[in-house]
């Protein structure tokens, strides 16, 4: 079968785009496992840079994971009930509130960080503790959780479902636990993965809020590029990839599932 002109063009453009995205990535990954990047692959492959990254930046990796988990817990505790409240009372007030909560998406992370610094900078204990970065992350990721859960809740007849449960004798808490949460699960899952991924990858805001003793994964990456040899920085990128790529894939899967349910 002859391949038409348009089809050939499509394939060429696709391959070029993939190459544009993949070549630098592969180069960076290779650099991270090459003994001497300037002499090229002929110098041999090694895991020594990765283990060096681990020794130097282990704290950053654990801090990032810890921040992501606590940030997730906070957004779940605040976001799910908030989304439920917004879904139960649709109206202009809820819309305004939803937009207000979403503001951190529109405001640059730097501005958000500056505002936090101005407000709390003088509170020494808070300023130098990891919870200061956490506050920033929660502010920044909360709208993603709320929107994700709200989208799923709005797509179902929540009021009637709850009335059904109530007529069967369920108290408000039992209705929330047995009906609202399980049915909102796809949205909660999609929101959770978004929050964790964003929290681990967040740089702008974290860079402003961090202290020399509290570096997250992306802040450590910037630091390694600035002050270490290229192989270490590249190995760092590789470590970052290994952590973030499975999360991204899971996020994709979860949000697709949430959309299917929403239909």
């Amino acid at each position: 079968m002859r391949i038409s002109m348009a089809r050939t063009l499509q394939i060429v453009v696709t391959i070029l785009t993939c190459a544009f995205l993949l070549v630098p990535t592969l180069q960076s990954v290779l650099a991270g496992v090459t003994v001497n990047y300037f002499r090229g692959l002929s110098s041999g492959l090694t895991f020594q840079w990765i283990s060096q990254v681990w020794d130097l930046y282990m704290d950053s990796i654990f801090l990032s994971i810890w921040l992501a988990i606590t940030c997730l817990v906070c957004t779940l505790l605040i976001g799910v009930p908030a989304a439920y409240g917004l879904a139960r009372r649709p109206g202009w007030a809820s819309r305004v509130l939803e937009e207000f909560v979403s503001l951190p998406l529109a405001v640059p992370g730097l501005a958000l960080a500056l505002a936090l610094l101005q407000l709390y900078g003088s509170m020494r204990g808070f300023r130098t503790s990891w919870t200061f970065i956490l506050a920033g992350h929660v502010l920044y990721t909360l709208p993603f959780m709320i929107r994700s859960v709200l989208a799923v809740l709005s797509s179902m007849d929540l009021k009637t479902l709850e009335e059904g449960a109530a007529s069967l004798g369920a108290s408000p808490w039992q209705r929330f636990r047995d009906v609202v949460i399980p049915n909102a699960m796809p949205g909660i899952l999609a929101g959770s993965l978004t929050v964790v991924t964003l929290s681990i990858g967040e740089f702008n805001l974290t860079w402003m809020l961090h202290t020399p003793y509290l570096k997250t994964l992306p802040v450590g990456l910037a630091d390694s590029y600035a002050s270490m040899r290229l192989e270490i920085a590249s190995a760092y990128t590789l470590v970052f990839f290994i952590i973030i790529v499975p999360l991204l894939m899971a996020m994709q899967w979860a949000s697709q599932r949430a959309q299917r349910i929403g239909k």
């Binding site: 009637t160 069967l168 004798g169 369920a170 399980p182």
Partner: protein, 345 residues
């Protein structure tokens, strides 16, 4: 259980009066149907009984000897079937039906036993472990009924339970639902806008309009002795014959005379399609406007008797031709003389 509603009324915050003070008494085991056009307050009345709406001050709702006016829905022990069924999509058929029993904190074996009982009663055994999202409309309706009934509620409340189904299925399920409600032997209130549904299922029909009860009675009473033009036309589609009333005679717009059973001063005359007979020697004449074949009979639209088209049910082998002129007989005994002022008091 006896249900007593004393001057139950509901005004929404925006000032809309959905239900004017209404009294209703339902005897134990009785199946009542609330019938009326959309927006007549029938669903509001049902939701007041369920506890899903808070009634206005002065309203009282009694379940037997208990004043439940201020109890929230979850404490009233009612069974509710919603128009959209409101089945929990996250649970199987079995868990949906068992949910009310679980809320009563019954032991697991007891729950299993009673769920099995209700599953058998509603012929749902083959679907017990399916997800409710994998059921057809008719099956969902039965699950909703089973779920409402399983906790042995004091009263079963059904909000247009058949309106989400397509027409063919609706007719079959109507009889099935009537049968199940009789088997349950439970007090039930059933909201519908479909008179056939109300007639088929209920012991007693409550006709509502504009937030008030217009007439209460058995299906036969409502059909034979409607108390207002509204009930006459809503139940059994009675048609108005307008014209000038002179004592016990009515002069139609065409100038012909129709005998009335009694003096008709101050009333409006109504007739049902099955009482308008096409005969060779009838005193009235009419022009055939339309003929619809309905299997057992024809529905013939007639012009010239009243200002609006009057329909006649005609059971002959062949219908009169459209545009032909026919003679009409209406037995005076079948005419309904209703005074319009009853409706808007």
């Amino acid at each position: 259980m006896t249900l007593t509603l004393r001057s139950g009324s509901k005004t929404y915050p925006d000032g809309t009066v959905a239900l004017t003070p209404t009294d209703l008494h339902v005897k134990p085991g009785e199946i009542i149907s609330l019938l009326g056009p959309p927006g007549c307050g029938k669903t509001t009345l049902l939701r007041l009984v369920a506890g899903l709406e808070r009634p206005d001050k002065g309203s009282e709702i009694w379940f037997g000897e208990d004043n439940v006016t201020h109890l929230p829905v979850e404490k009233r022990k009612v069974g509710m079937v919603f128009q959209s069924y409101a089945l929990f999509p996250n649970m199987s058929v079995r868990r949906n039906i068992g949910y009310g029993l679980k809320m009563q904190k019954l032991p697991v074996e007891e729950i299993d036993r009673r769920v099995a009982e209700v599953l058998a009663l509603c012929q749902l055994e083959p679907y017990a472990d399916r997800s409710v999202t994998a059921l057809s409309g008719g099956q969902r309706q039965r699950v909703a009924l089973a779920r409402a009934f399983a906790p042995r509620p004091r009263i079963l409340l059904l909000d247009e339970p058949l309106s989400a189904l397509d027409a063919a299925l609706r007719d079959r399920l109507r009889d099935e639902l009537a049968g199940l409600l009789r088997t349950f032997g439970i007090t039930a209130i059933f909201v519908t806008h479909d008179q056939d549904e109300a007639m088929a299922i209920a012991d007693r029909v409550v006709v509502m309009s504009h937030g008030r009860i217009v007439q209460t009675g058995t299906p036969e009473e409502l059909y034979r002795n409607p108390n207002s033009p509204f009930v006459a036309s809503f139940v059994g589609q009675a048609m108005e014959i307008d014209g000038r009333i002179e004592g016990n005679r009515l002069v139609t717009p065409a100038g012909e005379t129709l005998c009335l059973p009694r003096s008709g001063i101050g009333s409006t005359v109504f007739v049902r399609a099955e009482d308008v007979r096409i005969t060779d020697d009838g005193p009235l004449s009419a022009r055939v406007e339309s003929v619809t074949f309905l299997g057992t009979h024809y529905r013939v639209g007639l012009a010239g008797i009243a200002s609006r088209t009057i329909f006649a049910l005609y059971a002959g082998k062949s219908a009169p031709a459209v545009a032909s002129t026919v003679r009409i007989t209406i037995d005076p005994a079948t005419l309904m003389l209703l005074s319009a002022k009853d409706e808007m008091k």
